[in-house]
């Protein structure tokens, strides 16, 4: 696009980064939050208190519930209770295309739990790769943006070939050079993470994005691929004759006897068929790979049908990539590091978006063109709007009446409503103060979460409730960071710095 390889890569970096930047920022933020998906869900269902559970007997209760909910289902899934998550999650579906129904059951009574209706951390997790859209649409959009992110990373590395020199150059002024340096520091410091998380993210959904290898080699028998790879046991199809499902507890007892731990969940295929299968799925053993050991049972007799095989090199590489992406293997410290890297990813995207607009702002008294204005509005609408939406989602969880119909949907509505509101306000407020106002609002919302939560539920450290200290502390840290960012954005910059920037950084940042 320009003369020379580096010049054309600089062009590619600036424009590819811009067109997908807003989606990428949202994907990074919600993905980073998903490292603490379980903790978010716990906070959003304060009624569920950790306690002893019996996986085997609660599986029978779940089966009784599912038997009533959909006896002719194609599949059920029972997520067994754990001490830190004492409820039983159940899912059932009549077709693999959905809809997938779900409920949360009490592990001792088998009735739906009394906890408030919420989608918890799962909403942010699914938003990370579906953007709150119909799954197929969302996944293709996110996948496309991830590929463009990979292109932006490669072209960015070429553009900033003085990568280590750039890393040690940080001109801490609120100026174009400051933005460029911040973009470089966030981008380079966590570069291995950015490359890893983007590529492994694509691999996570590779069967959907790139099905042609499986299609060419397995023509019509695609499920065989997963069996051959050691990712699932060989399952039989339905017999077409009715059958009676044996108690799940006996199969779970067998599974516990074999592996020395309770499975994480149980899938039941064709539960009302004479050839029903039950698959006990265990958590990944210690290690990087995301590989769930599985034991398949004959659903009517409880006899073992088979197990998933061992993975070979290439399949193992895939599962390790999945494991790296999800970070399940990580202990508390490593998970915190992943979280920080994720934030740096979001910051790389955000500073890049701001830099694009700053570098193209007209000099002097000329009015902004439509393009630059649009980018500015979308920048604020996303960078302040999404965090505002997340904070509002948490606040809605504590403030909406507990008996509200479709309460979980209302929470999601508040998330999108707050986001849209901030975006619209950002478009109409004067450009000079809008960042200060927007970021301060986000900070205030996050700071309000622990206090609103304490007042609304009566659960707080002073009342002896220590479960949510970590979550509350995280909200306060986020709030303070946004307030500090707002203060920085509010500081006027000296005019001579402006002129120096225009001269020095113009060429550096604006190669396009």
């Amino acid at each position: 696009m320009r003369q020379g390889f580096r010049q054309s890569m600089a062009w590619l970096h600036a424009w590819s980064g811009l067109v997908v930047g807003w989606v990428l920022f949202s994907v990074f933020v919600t993905g980073t939050a998903s490292y603490y998906r379980a903790e978010i869900s716990q906070w959003m269902r304060p009624e569920l208190v950790a306690g002893a559970t019996d996986p085997a007997s609660s599986a029978d209760l779940a089966a009784a519930y599912l038997q009533k909910a959909m006896p002719d289902a194609v599949g059920w899934y029972v997520e067994l209770p754990k001490p830190e998550k004492p409820a039983v999650g159940v899912m059932w579906w009549k077709s693999l295309d959905g809809p997938f129904h779900q409920a949360l059951l009490d592990s001792t009574s088998g009735a739906p739990v009394g906890a408030r209706d919420t989608r918890g951390g799962d909403f942010l997790y699914r938003f990370h790769f579906e953007l709150g859209m119909p799954p197929l649409w969302g996944r293709w959009i996110v996948g496309t943006c991830a590929l463009v992110m990979l292109v932006a990373l490669v072209s960015g590395i070429v553009t900033h070939r003085r990568i280590f020199a750039d890393f040690f150059t940080f001109r801490r002024r609120r100026s174009q050079r400051g933005w460029l340096d911040a973009h470089n520091v966030f981008g380079v410091l966590a570069l291995p993470f950015h490359l890893m998380i983007t590529y492994t993210g694509l691999v996570t959904l590779a069967p959907m994005y790139m099905p042609w290898g499986v299609a060419a080699a397995y023509k019509g028998g695609e499920m065989r691929f997963y069996v051959d790879s050691g990712l699932m046991p060989d399952l039989r199809g339905p017999a077409g004759k009715p059958g009676t499902l044996a108690p799940l507890s006996s199969m779970i007892a067998q599974a516990i006897a074999e592996r020395g731990e309770a499975p994480e969940g149980v899938s039941v295929y064709n539960p009302a068929d004479a050839a029903a299968s039950v698959v006990a799925i265990f958590e990944e053993p210690h290690g990087l790979a995301h590989e769930h050991p599985q034991i398949a049972f004959d659903g009517t007799t409880g006899a073992v049908l088979g197990r998933n095989g061992a993975t070979r090199a290439a399949a193992k590489t895939s599962t390790v990539m999945l494991g790296l992406h999800e970070g399940h293997f990580a202990g508390a410290a490593l998970r915190a590091l992943f979280f920080l890297c994720g934030i740096m990813g979001a910051a790389t995207v955000a500073t890049g978006l701001v830099l694009w607009a700053v570098a193209r702002a007209p000099k002097g008294a000329k009015a902004d063109g439509f393009g630059v204005r649009l980018v500015r509005v979308l920048n604020l609408g996303t960078i302040a709007g999404l965090p505002a939406g997340i904070a509002a989602y948490f606040l809605a969880n504590r403030l909406l009446p507990l008996d509200l119909a479709a309460r979980a949907d209302w929470e999601v509505g508040v998330f999108f409503g707050a986001w849209a509101l901030v975006a619209v306000l950002g478009a109409v407020r004067p450009a000079g103060t809008v960042w200060r106002e927007g970021l301060a609002l986000v900070g205030a919302l996050f700071l309000a979460v622990p206090f609103v939560g304490a007042i609304a539920t009566g659960l707080h450290p002073l009342a002896g409730e220590l479960r949510f200290l970590g979550f509350d502390a995280a909200m306060i840290v986020l709030g303070v960071l946004f307030v500090l960012a707002a203060r920085k954005a509010g500081r006027p910059r000296p005019p001579q710095a402006q002129r120096a920037d225009a001269a020095i950084a113009g060429r550096e940042a604006l190669r396009a």
């Binding site: 696009m1 590929l147 290898g213 060419a216 080699a217 290439a314």
Partner: protein
């Protein structure tokens, strides 16, 4: 938008940029998909391993094609190279039986 004296902003330039975007998206995906299918059938590995290896590298292949399309001197040269590569891969896939009906596997 403040840059002047630049033929870059003309309609011919815009059309060429649009052409490169279309070529990068469609050509990049086509080359990656054809190579994935071809390698899945021809890599001297267990079948599932060949498929997994080919699928894993497919995204890097697509990125490489996209980068090439935007780095090439002219759109015509990029289109020729991508079309040639896709034709070679498609021919290889045909020879490997990738287009025959189910049952061959």
């Amino acid at each position: 938008m403040t840059q002047q004296k630049d033929a870059r902003r003309g309609p011919a330039y815009r059309l060429a940029v649009a052409g490169r975007i279309v070529l990068a998206v469609l050509g990049g995906y086509a080359v990656a998909a054809l190579l994935t299918a071809l390698l899945s059938l021809t890599l001297p590995l267990v079948r599932s391993e060949a498929v997994a290896s080919a699928t894993l590298v497919s995204f890097a292949v697509m990125v490489a094609v996209v980068v090439y399309v935007f780095a090439a001197r002219t759109l015509g040269r990029a289109a020729l190279a991508v079309a040639g590569l896709a034709a070679v891969l498609g021919g290889g896939l045909w020879l490997a039986g990738g287009f025959s009906a189910a049952g061959a596997a």
